[in-house]
């Protein structure tokens, strides 16, 4: 009986092995397989607490179950197009990027471009894209300015899709532009990975063509609220934010969290970003504003805005004699902030979307290669853009040159091991990876975890 079983197994082994050998001989070249992705935290497609919201911060938790919960299941693309073949005559696999190339966010735009180019060059060195007939196609990056005017990102996306046939889009950085992009991409059916946007609502629409790989201001707000109110025990908090859409939308979740912890902010007041990069002289009411904050005797001020203007605002707070703890999100934590704030930056506590002390498993290699090539230190913007680009490349290689299938491949990813660490996705394909804290010490950013 044993001998018979062994013989049967041997026959089976030969039967299956022979075609495999034949396949190996005749098989066309294949794209490198994407690294296996696991979900260490379990199935993140099931998100009972939306956006990783702690139970105590859930909206209306005291009034029972809402009539409807959205974003429970991942959005689906149910349209046709999965059988559409690629067009003839391709010489490259084009990937688009919309990023800030000028203005206050130009440094972020440079980091995005550098990181994406690094990822694409590595992919091309490893064979580019295989699977378009016999050709081996290089990946190429096409970059456009995102913020020349309201809606410019949409114009750029239309041009990239229809004139250059991109297979996926990276960006944007400024959240207004990202919103404009999303709706355009629903029309033209091209996947978009957002590596840098912070507005929580970017992924709150059910459009099935968008992923975000970095944790947003919802995660930053939850972590800051815990730090400010629970860990540091602050009671009298003033919110001092940029008079901009970023300042308005970024602080919504923090204010909600403060209220739900029964410690609503005492005052929300604003600074104009148009003059604060230089000084406070452009604001005739500045002194009165400072006096108003002082009179409230806050034990913490939470600032929210771009680095440079917020640095000037923090410096002015200190000069006005407001010496309480100051907190803010990662977009404050820039070199421009340190420069503008000077000594006033000392002790500033901030959130950060990744842990640069450890990163992911390839973080040291990425960091070294980035510095070697661009002569600059890779920051979170660069690191998340690198991860986003690699995810897109992997999806294109897996799905082939079909946008709907590339989208499907991206939406299959529940978590991703990148240079930034493990990225966990919510059902809206938004990163719900926890953020870390850091502080400024002797003029440098120190990361605490």
């Amino acid at each position: 009986m044993h001998a018979l079983r062994c013989a049967a197994l041997a026959i089976l082994a030969v039967t299956f092995a022979a075609p495999a050998v034949l396949l190996a001989q005749d098989e066309p070249r294949k794209n490198p397989a994407p690294p296996p992705q696991e979900d260490p935290a379990g199935d993140t497609a099931k998100d009972d607490g939306y956006g990783g919201t702690p139970d105590e911060l859930r909206p209306f938790r005291g009034v029972g179950e809402p009539a409807r919960r959205f974003f429970v299941d991942p959005p689906q693309f149910r349209g046709p197009g999965r059988d559409t073949p690629p067009p003839p005559g391709l010489t490259a696999v084009a990937i688009g990027m919309v990023a800030p190339l000028k203005g206050a966010d130009a440094a972020a735009g440079r980091a995005m471009q550098n990181a994406a180019r690094l990822a694409l060059d590595e992919a091309n060195a490893a064979g580019g894209f295989v699977g378009y007939g016999d050709a081996e196609l290089p990946f190429e990056l096409l970059v456009r300015e995102e913020g020349a005017s309201w809606g410019a990102a949409g114009d750029a996306a239309v041009e990239l899709v229809f004139d250059h046939g991109i297979w996926g889009l990276l960006g944007g950085y400024e959240d207004t532009n990202s919103h404009v992009l999303t709706r355009v991409l629903l029309k033209v059916e091209v996947p978009n990975i957002n590596p840098t946007g912070v507005d929580p609502t970017i992924t709150e629409h059910n459009i099935p063509w968008l992923l975000r790989v970095r944790p947003d201001d919802r995660q930053a707000s939850y972590r800051l609220a815990r730090k400010v109110f629970v860990e540091d025990g602050r009671e009298r908090v003033v919110l001092f934010r940029a008079n901009s859409r970023y300042g308005r939308t970024g602080t919504i979740e923090f204010k909600d969290a403060a209220r739900r912890l029964h410690k609503p902010v005492l005052l929300e007041t604003r600074y104009e970003t148009s003059y604060l990069p230089r000084d406070t002289a452009g604001d005739a009411n500045w002194a009165a504003r400072m006096e108003r904050i002082k009179r409230l005797r806050p034990d913490a001020v939470v600032v929210w805005g771009r680095g440079g203007p917020t640095g000037t605002a923090v410096k002015a707070l200190r000069e006005a004699g407001i010496d309480c703890a100051i907190y803010g999100p990662d977009r404050v934590a820039t070199q421009a902030f340190l420069k503008a704030a000077g000594d006033a930056a000392e002790g500033f506590v901030f959130t950060y979307p990744m842990d640069p002390r450890t990163g992911g498993k390839d973080w040291p290699r990425f960091h070294d290669r980035y510095r070697e090539r661009f002569g600059d230190e890779a920051d979170a913007t660069a690191a998340f853009t690198y991860d986003a680009t690699r995810m897109l490349i992997d999806a294109i290689r897996k799905a082939g040159l079909n946008r709907a299938r590339i989208r499907d491949a991206l939406y299959e990813i529940r978590s991703y091991e990148g240079v930034t660490g493990t990225i966990r996705f919510s059902p809206t394909q938004n990163s719900i990876t926890p953020v870390i804290l850091g502080h400024v010490e002797k003029g440098r950013f120190v990361f605490d975890g």
Binding site: W150, V158, F162, V180
Partner: protein, 403 residues
Amino acid sequence: MLAPSLRNAVLAAATVVLAGAAVLALRPSAAAPSADAEEPAPVRPAAVVLDPWKRSANPRQSAIVYDRFETLGVADGLPSEHVTSVLAEGDDLYVGTDRGLAVRRGGTWTVIDESDGLSHRYVTSVARDVASDTTWVSTLKGLSRISGGDVRVYTQKNSGLVNDVIYHCVTDGPLVWCGTGAGMSVLDTRSGSWTIYDTANAIMREPWCYAIALGPQRAWIGLWGGAIAELDRRTGRWREYRDPDGEMEIDLLKDDGPIHEVTSFVAFEDGMLWQVTYFGMARYDGRSWQSFTKADAGLPGDFMQHVATRGRAAWLGTDEGFGVMRDDTVISYVRQDDGTCLVRTVKAGVEQETRTIATAPGDNYILWTFPRERDVWIATGSGLSRGIARETTDGGDDRTDGN
């Protein structure tokens, strides 16, 4: 030193000039009006106050039960199977696709694309001024006017169009409303002047305008992030309709307002405002809101990209089929894998009837519908379909939008 009388005269003249300039500056117009412009469009002071919420005693009638579908594609003359919008006038059709505008007149198809001067190949909507036989085409790269064989293009660089990405255009007498990714632009064709509505002069929190619906002395703008903005065109006043719970991830109370802040389309007719979203739909009769989803009302799907109205019914374009809602009844039409169509009738959330008919729309991915008295044109991801109502043989059809 000027004499007092002269100084007073200069001051008076300066006051007039400055006041005039101030009036002009306050006008939300991108271009100076020409001399024959009658009044600031599109706000029109009127002595008579109309109630937009008043229901008509004789609303437009329509069949809402279709027993047969036929589908046109590339083989029939369309430039693409990806149909984005449709407008019908008698036997004439104006069909937007991702490869240009297809026009069927006198049974003959003509395709107008970029080679003919169309501003972009991707057409998002079509509007008509029948009196002047002018066709307005919104695209992802500007507005095109087709008249007398000529195509004229309006972009943000040569006109008061606030952004080139236009999601919807509507004609309203001499006005052409364009909902764009950066605000609402309105062209007054009499003067050539443009009016822009955005976060600077309207109630919008964000300027992302996706659809426009017009009613008696009112305009409603479907917004991404802000639900619906209403302009009283008689007074110029704005009002907003928002989801009161203020949270994107929930709808706290079912019938307390728009179902979500992200509106994908709006329509208005006979005293009813309809909002569709990617989460379901809502309607407002001037007093109260009601909202509906696939789960609780039998909609074919919750991801909705278009709503059209006729009489008291609304035609719903979803990514899982199309449906018609009248009062509390929803009839959904969903294509099956074998090419047949599952027709399901749900009344007040309770299933009434399910049946299968032999033909179906070309695809369940519906981007636009254009209902008429006895048929409906349907823009799908796989062709242009037409739903045809059962022929009446007994002098009436109780399954129409009769009242």
